[in-house]
Symmetry: C2
């Protein structure tokens, strides 16, 4: 994929003879790094679906989320119980086409219906996940509108605050920040609250919590997200939204997610000091090793800086550990624009402005394929202040 | 599923000793009738997906619909070419989570962006598919609003007309009906324009055409729909909508749809007077036989009437044939409410009012499981005017 060849490319801030002509796409959040784990699993995670199976729209007529396969619901409860990252007892689970759809569904469910001329403001502390704004703007709804940075929200109007923890793009652990007397509701986007990315310090028990298969195990192509919801009326509205938007969720993906999450759980349950590494151990080791290499390269370059995360005791791994986010949030020291700087190195990153931050900042994916990641580190370690 | 047992149920308009206590759900549009075809196919349609496969968000970076698997695009083009029901040459294909999501995506793509205070009116000739209204109302958008019956639309304001042909609920073949000087755009919902339901009289070549795997082969649980679009800018906006709403479409479902549609096409391509029936022959025979039984029962009862469809030459089957819709649109003669009448027979139907029609009308699914359908016919044939 990445072929580093000498070329007659124009001058750029590389200090040795590596003149790569290939572009590294570190802009996207495709979690391909975990593919290697699933490759060594042989047939354990294989799903086989016959032509006549899974044909109906319906999965479980006894559940208000009638399109959710019971076996998926079971493994979702099981993995949260195993990891200890979220309460599921006496909570309602709604499955969606990725957590993107459930984000919309939760906005729909939490927005007041009776004040059509006053859309509720949806806010998130900057830097915030770049897609929240796009999703809200594309819907152009009378019920909600993008309200920008939660940290400076001072309107005396109802709001919904999105709390992303660990945060995308910067990996920080978050709490609500709005300081307003107005009525506020919360959506917790906990996509990255898994032990490979951050210590599991508590069992989250928020009103609306969003999770996704994409970040839990790396299966982004399946488009499976789930919400854990306290209030049944909110859960029902969310299920209605998914019903109206897409008449449910792919059963093939649900079956596969149930299988793979089940295999992860089985691994821990049947663990008898086997030689093979379990999923969260493998993925944590991988992300940690990448971060160590990456930090070293960045520090060596002195062009960029990257946040240092506090350590905490992880209830799941029973050890003290740092946060190792799925993305690096780089700050370009000096006056240069971070995105432009990386462009000169043929590294494609996502601009800070898209996250409500300064152009000095850029987001770079830590979970690309090995070749891409190694080349990224190589290029970063070779840059010097001009 | 359906157990017809004598019971001490209260009086109702049955004339013999059948007192069924079970409820037949003929309300939903679950196309389970075709399951029998796929059951006899053995492993030909089976998909096997390994744990490490299909992990990326991305399918084809060279396509503006980057989340669509190239093999799905290929079979979509292939089946339309085979059946001759829609032009795909020089058209853009966008895949979605069912045609429901693509319906929303097309509204988004066709609505003018620059007149936020004047949402475009979305209309469809009554009786119209009951979900259009729900989908539009749930979004509560500034860009579009539900404008009701297209036949009486007389506002001098921009509109989008949804042309559903064959129509859901009544199976009629439709053309646009709005008679207005205002600027209008069209969405053609051709979910049922397949040879098992209606003669293929022409290759449809409309601006935005929606199709779905659910109705083509009966695989509703997969949530795969596709749009065939003339204008690349409209197609791009639709793809952007699917991206923002759900970050693409399940790859497991796409893989399976590609496999199954491919098998249907292969059957015709490799056909050497084999003894096994091909999919559209099988499904057409099944729907036709059901309609013949159903019509006989309804005519015998004299309580309900059902539309008679004109015959036409089908370019695909090379024979003259009627339309055999996926639903029966029944009119209860006399003054009775059709839905209430069927309720007394423990038949659950969808009320005419939900389709913008009179309460005398009801929609009944023709594609339930064999047992359900046979019991439905049995109950209908036994009713008499009281």
């Amino acid at each position: 994929m990445v072929v580093a060849k000498a070329s007659s490319s124009p001058s750029h801030p590389l200090t040795n003879n590596v003149f790569p002509c290939s572009i590294i796409d570190a802009q996207k959040g495709d979690p391909l790094a975990f593919e290697s784990y699933w490759k060594q699993m042989n047939d354990e995670c294989t799903v086989v679906i016959k032509g006549w199976e899974l044909m109906s729209y319906y999965s479980d007529l006894s559940n208000m989320c009638w399109f959710m396969l019971p076996e998926l619901k079971d493994v979702i409860e099981r993995i949260h119980h195993l990891v200890g990252n979220a309460v599921t007892k006496d909570r309602y689970i709604v499955v969606g086409n990725g957590s993107s759809q459930l984000f919309q569904a939760s906005l729909f469910a939490l927005s007041p219906l009776d004040v059509p001329d006053h859309p509720v403001n949806v806010v998130a502390a900057a830097p915030y996940y770049s897609e929240y704004k796009n999703v809200i703007n594309i819907l152009n709804s009378r019920m909600f509108q993008w309200g920008d940075d939660a940290a400076v929200y001072d309107k005396n109007e109802p709001y919904i605050e999105v709390v992303t923890s660990p945060n995308n793009p910067d990996g920080t652990l978050r709490e609500p920040v709005v300081n307003s007397v107005a009525e506020g509701k919360l959506i917790h986007d906990l996509a990255y609250y898994w032990p490979q990315f951050t210590p599991i310090t508590h069992e989250a028990d928020d009103d609306v919590m969003l999770f996704t298969f994409s970040k839990c195990t790396g299966h982004a192509g399946s488009r499976i997200g789930w919400a854990i919801v306290k209030d049944i009326e909110v859960a029902k509205k969310m299920a209605t939204f998914v019903q109206s938007s897409s008449m449910g969720v792919s059963k093939e993906s649900q079956t596969r997610a149930a299988k793979i999450i089940g295999v992860v759980c089985d691994g821990y349950q049947n663990f008898k000091s086997s030689e093979s590494e379990l999923f969260f151990e493998y993925s944590k080791r991988l992300v940690k090793e990448r971060w160590e290499k990456f930090r070293e390269a960045v520090e060596q370059s002195m062009v960029f800086t990257v946040t240092k995360y506090p350590k905490a005791y992880c209830n799941f791994t029973n050890e003290i550990s740092e946060t190792y986010p799925s993305f690096a949030w780089l700050k370009c020291e000096g006056n240069e624009d971070g995105h432009n700087y990386l462009r000169k190195l043929n590294i494609c990153s996502r601009e800070g402005e898209r996250f409500g931050a300064d152009s000095k900042f850029v987001r770079v994916s830590m979970l690309g394929m090995d070749d891409d990641f190694n080349e990224l580190v190589k290029r970063l370690s070779n840059v010097k202040i001009e």
